[in-house]
Amino acid sequence: MLLDSKIPEGPLAEKWEKHKFNVKLVNPANKRKYDIIVVGTGLAGASAAASLAELGYNVKAFTYHDSPRRAHSIAAQGGINAAKNYQNDGDSVFRLFYDTIKGGDYRAREANVYRLAQVSVNIIDQCVAQGVPFAREYGGLLANRSFGGAQVSRTFYARGQTGQQLLLGAYSALSRQIAYGKVKMYTRSEMLDVVVIDGQARGIVTRNLITGEIETHAAHAVVLATGGYGNVFYLSTNAKYCNVTAAWRAHKKGAYFANPCFTQIHPTCIPVSGDYQSKLTLMSESLRNDGRVWVPKTVEMAERVRQGQIKPQDIAEDDRDYFLERKYPAFGNLVPRDVASRNAKLMCDEGRGVGSTGLAVYLDFSEIIKRTGAEAVSQKYGNLFAMYEKITDEDPYKQPMRIYPAVHYTMGGLWVDYNLQTTVPGLYATGECNFSDHGANRLGASALMQGLADGYFVIPYTIGDYLASTPPKPVSTDHPAFAESKAYVQARTERLLSINGTRTPDQFHKALGHIMWEYCGMARNAEGLRHAKAEIQKLRSEFWSDVKIVGSGEEMNQALEKAGRVADFLELGELMVDDALNRNESCGGHFREEYQTPEGEALRNDDEYAYVAAWEYQGENQPEKLNKEELTFENVKLTQRSYK
């Protein structure tokens, strides 16, 4: 299939306006004849479900949580970008567009990113009207702060929980539509298949997580807002339930998966403390404004630290290596996320890591504490220091924090065109679930912006274009395709339950995570990737003969849920490795060791790889087919990033 991104003609700044005029409309009286399924109720899903219901469509919304308000969007801390230019500091739609394209290392689509920047301003207005309590100045106007990758202050925030407040805004709009009866809400329902009839998405199959019942639901269109797949690494900053299952089942039904190897590793997370560790906790990037990153100069000294023979605060200045300041004198500790992460890994690989596992570097606040006093530091970072102490039982006022990079976000996802439609007509993907806006690296405070842009301001327009050309005839689950899909889901569940092996789903997940992190994490090379591919294949076949689950499918069974998700991760992992192997360049979060500048920086290859890699499923255990969408840059100049 030829990938048609459907980018509208005309100058960049006019594309979206023109497109909105050119898309077909559904008559208001006809809207209630159309049913739309929205899977996922995070920022992208809740905003879409609410907005579509407001327009008059009948919406069915699904979440595996007990409430639509618990999606992982809730955990976003920092803020949301918008090109309001309230600070009079030179921001504009074009600047936000430019920063995002550049931050993504020139692997995102210009037209989509420009639209994102355009609608960003509407998001803030909408949220304020909903009663989202953004931070304000004494004069009563909205406050902003600055964030990585930008030279203007355009980030709106609600203390350290912007994600929760924005999600509660979208959840309240959704709740209102549920009360009106325009949205039928299905909680504790996990989507396990997409139903495609005559090439068009016509419904989904779900499992009720309380009763175990397999249900079928029909609609005229399906929107997936099911988040990212960072949990393929087992340990990540994602919530425990985050998974790729919905997107992966869509992929197997014909939706191409784009740039799966583009994952973001966040440099400042609390390190792993033991094998039992279930997830990683982020320490805000803002800490790098005042904290200095270092490791001991010698392996011997690092070994003594690891043994507990010497405390970090007792190590002399001359025995410390402030490696970011040494290697990047211009940016120092404030280099971008990917560079900071990679260098921390390098230090640990050299044997100079600290902490009992040797997989950590120090983030030291002693200098700022000496300079401004503990009180001033507490004003700025008090809540983060308290959280750190709660988790590690160490006082960061007295000894440096230990930090290590962790998987945080996935830029890759289902391939979508300008309308956010996947390669399956009638099937849409929004938010982190799609690949569209962040290229090879996402800037801070842009995930919330994209989720809400897609849900509030893009999908309500673009889905109408598709529906207008679909007759408003009722759809039903009577079609044999539904029975077939349901039988497939049931058979898979039964197969998982019948294996009765010796290893738990978590053990397989951890083993997969280890492979992914080791060979497809912060730094990759062809040899390692080939090794990983073989390892994943082996692990996958072991999974299907040795996984252990007890109980039945007709009850609440969390081990069964977990096993189904791990099974999909075991397939996705291999595709990520294939994608990383195919992309013979380094860009953003994808660092191939073979492709670096003499100084060790990421080396892009714009001549050969300025494309989106969209993978097409070919059947069980078959190599996937690569389709390319060439990226053209008419409004920005491609340059090499440098932070020296």
Binding site: P68, Q126, G131, R159, I210, K240, K390, D393, V550, M556
Partner: protein, 251 residues
Amino acid sequence: MNLTLNVWRQPNRQAQGKMVEYHVKDISPDMSFLEMLDVLNEDLLHAGQDPVAFDHDCREGICGSCDLFINGRSHGPEKGTTTCQLHMRKFSDGDTITIEPWRANAFPVNKDLSVDRSAFDRIIQAGGYVSVNTGGAPDGNEIPIPKEIADRAFEAATCISCGACVAACKNASAMLFVSAKVSQLALLPQGQPERKSRVENMIAQMDKEGFGACSNIGSCAAECPVGISLENIAILNREFLAAKATSNNLA
């Protein structure tokens, strides 16, 4: 650390439940409480037994999923902490720990430690929103809001909807939860048009769900993991009285 756990086991909503004793070994003090339960569940699974079902997700204290009643307290012994952020160093080797689900008629048990909190969603659906459609909102800076008011609204809005307040209350009252949302929107200019109907409708739904009455003991606020203030209940009472006194609701 080696611990003895007394855990509530209940196969489903209809079945009779009971406390069951388990033993876990070599628990690290650095583990979170839920990671300790992960260890138990891996042991159970290896032994071919049904793992303990419990609600959890973000494991960083913000999603509000986790909901354990530990040694007779919502989210356990540490103040201002959700279960997922409670660490085993708060316990001692040899301890016996009792783990129950939230106990309230309005929160029926799904299985073991997992409860159904959809009553909270229905209370919000009854009016916990501002009725604005997408699009057409005025500029975000059109209406200035004094910082003190915005901050107070924010404080009320930090509720994570976990239900600890209900579990801690001897009456299983949901007043702290309802008051947090009512105060947030009553404080903000955006909440004014529906101020009266909102509080009336949310209270009516709260009663319908079977939550108990408030007797002003304050254990809800004492046990709230995010520090929602008891002051919100005072605001709620005032809002409710004012609304009732001048009600537009004819029914």
